[in-house]
């Protein structure tokens, strides 16, 4: 294939990726967008095969690799529970990071195949681009592995704080720069692998001090990194699809991190420096002051909601943990059948990933036009009879609004306390991820429904049938 035409096709595949993201501006166009993305990928692969015309053996290897990897991917994609999305995304990122390292290594050992010079005489510019790509790729790899382990609960979410960790990281960073310079000067494979090793270590060290609940920000940030790594390799390979995609993914990750930090009213730097949040602390109301809590049963809740005119449901991380979304939808159906108006209110950082709650509700067949973002629904709580808060905590904590000394002060919250009655489904009076007591539990209009989110909701559904 003509190299010009191939470049043109790579451009087309880059454009298709842009259209894929553009499709996500609305659920109705999103499926079409995803198909554009697939076509773009198919074009990029076909173009590369047509351009490089591998030997028969090479072609066999390629098919083998695609089939093995593809089937694993397809099976995972089909089997994975929707609640496990955050982990899955982290795991996928780690693969991209490692693949970037491998591609760079291949370019190092066979520079001729990539058109960047010959062994021992690789172009300086290509070396710089490559080593950037490999360093970012390696950091993405180990960082994502740690994020995966923390999100999947295979590793404690507690921040692991090495003494003098900032110093260590700065020293490693400086060493990395020195090694890259050395690589450009010496073209040594040994130095290349040193860079890989150092970056792998840096990836671990950067992520372990960050608390488990900050992992969503970390995952987005690593998403952004993997984009920049792809772009760097795109420069080395002179590949337009890779450059465009890298820029898209890089911006996407950066913007999502920004949105999350804003939703928590925290600075990106403070998240990245780590040390915040850990195990969900089950502190209870043990701060000396005796406070009364009104506890209710499933029957109480059923009665209250069946007699309401408007119920707003506020899901949070606990709903995901309990897999309560299907029971919740059943409950909403019952209410709607009884003439009650039902809406869902989603906080931008509810759950453990942006959009997490939306996906779970969609899985339970909740129509997306009943689901509203914070700014669109917050004023409606004042007119609601019941706010049904299920497994959410921090995103409803009024101290973010009223208490200047609170660590989450300034974080936008859902004004569930403005509803006539506020029902709280959770297992205890424990705090959420931010480890802060929720004063709402002790308010007059609040009724606690202590128990597992799924069980409690199912009981309410049963009670509604009486």
């Amino acid at each position: 294939m003509n190299a010009n035409f191939a470049s043109f096709l790579y451009l087309v595949s880059g454009i298709l990726f842009i259209l894929a993201l553009r499709g996500l501006s609305h659920p109705t166009t999103s499926r079409q967008g995803n198909i554009y993305g697939m076509i773009g990928m198919a074009i990029a692969i076909a173009t590369t095969l047509a351009l490089a015309t591998p030997s028969f053996g090479g072609f066999g290897l390629i098919v083998l690799g695609l089939v093995i990897g593809g089937s694993v991917g397809a099976v995972v994609a089909r089997r994975i529970a929707m609640t496990a999305m955050p982990q899955l995304v982290a795991a996928f990122h780690s693969l991209v990071g490692f693949a970037a390292v491998m591609v760079a290594a291949a370019a190092m050992y066979a520079p001729e195949s990539f058109g960047i010079g010959s062994a021992g005489a690789i172009h300086g510019q290509a070396l710089v681009e490559m080593s950037l790509g490999v360093a970012i790729g390696a950091i993405t790899f180990t960082g994502s592995v740690i994020a995966f382990l923390k999100l999947d609960g295979r590793m404690s979410g507690k921040p692991i704080m090495l003494p003098a960790r900032h110093l260590i990281n700065i020293a490693l960073g400086a060493a990395l720069v020195a090694l890259i310079v050395t690589l450009v000067l010496t073209q040594s494979h040994f130095v290349f692998w040193l860079i890989v090793l150092l970056s792998l270590a840096l990836g671990v060290l950067l992520i372990i001090p960050i608390g488990g609940a900050d992992m969503p920000v970390v995952v987005s940030m690593l998403n952004s990194y993997s984009g920049w790594a792809a772009a760097a390799l795109g420069f080395t390979l002179g590949n337009l699809a890779l450059i465009i995609t890298g820029a898209l993914v890089g911006s996407s990750g950066a913007i999502l991190s920004y949105i999350m930090c804003k939703g928590m009213n925290r600075s990106f730097i403070s998240v990245i420096l780590g040390g915040f949040g850990g195990e969900t602390a089950a502190v209870g109301a043990g701060d000396g002051v005796e406070r009364t809590v009104k506890q209710g049963s499933a029957d109480d809740a059923a009665y209250l909601m069946m007699n309401a005119q408007k119920v707003i449901i506020v899901p949070g991380y606990g709903m995901a943990v309990a897999q309560a979304q299907h029971a919740l939808r059943e409950m909403a159906d019952k209410l709607k059948a009884n003439g009650v108006e039902v809406k869902y209110a989603i906080h931008p950082v509810a759950g453990r990933m942006p959009g997490h709650m939306n996906v779970l509700l969609a899985e339970a067949n909740v129509p997306y036009d009943e689901v509203f973002e914070l700014e669109d629904i917050n004023s409606e709580f004042a007119q609601a009879d019941v706010a049904y808060v299920i497994g959410a905590n921090d995103v409803t904590n009024p101290s973010a609004r009223d208490d200047k000394s609170s660590p989450i002060y300034g974080m936008p919250i859902l004004d569930v306390d403005k509803a006539r009655t506020c029902l709280f489904v959770k297992r205890s009076l424990g705090s959420g991820y931010a480890g802060i007591d929720n004063t709402l539990f002790y308010k007059d209009g609040t009724m606690m429904l202590l128990g597992d989110a799924k069980k409690m909701t199912e009981e309410i559904v049963k009670a509604m049938d009486h």
Partner: protein, 142 residues
């Protein structure tokens, strides 16, 4: 090699510019002067430009596009957004294909094969899981 081609271009430009000066001062707009001007303009109009500059331009513009396109994604679809960016970043597969397909070193082929396998997981897994998620988003039935 970058440096030399760059220096070459610079030299050519210098020579060409000198030639143009002569040509213009010459006042006789003969063929010779015109050709010299042509050489200068060749540099002017990009014939001698390093592809890096173009790639950089494409990169910068793509960041602008990414900025706008991502901000226009509805928050309800932020999880599918993460999944699909994951899938498309696997376009790094082109590097893996080159390595497996035409590398002249056994090691490189091996590295490429590992990359290819990993990235295939991502391609298929990423797009399919996105597909699965997006299929769940439904409007209210009327």
């Amino acid at each position: 090699m970058e440096k030399t081609s760059l220096e070459q271009a610079l030299d050519q430009l210098d020579q060409a510019v000198a030639a143009v000066r002569l040509g213009v001062q010459d006042l006789v707009h003969g063929q010779g002067a015109a050709e010299a001007a042509g050489a200068a303009a060749h540099a002017v109009s990009g014939g001698a430009i390093d592809p890096f500059v173009f790639r950089f331009a494409i990169f910068v513009l793509a960041i602008f596009v990414g900025y706008y396109v991502v901000w226009s994604v509805t928050p309800a679809l932020h999880t599918p957004l993460m999944a699909v960016t994951n899938a498309i970043s696997s376009v790094i597969v082109v590097g893996a294909l080159l390595a497996v397909g035409i590398a002249a070193s056994g090691l490189a082929t091996g590295f490429g094969f590992v990359a290819l396998m990993l990235v295939s997981v991502n391609i298929f897994g990423g797009f399919l899981v996105t597909q699965r998620m997006l299929a769940m988003y439904k409007k209210k039935e009327k």
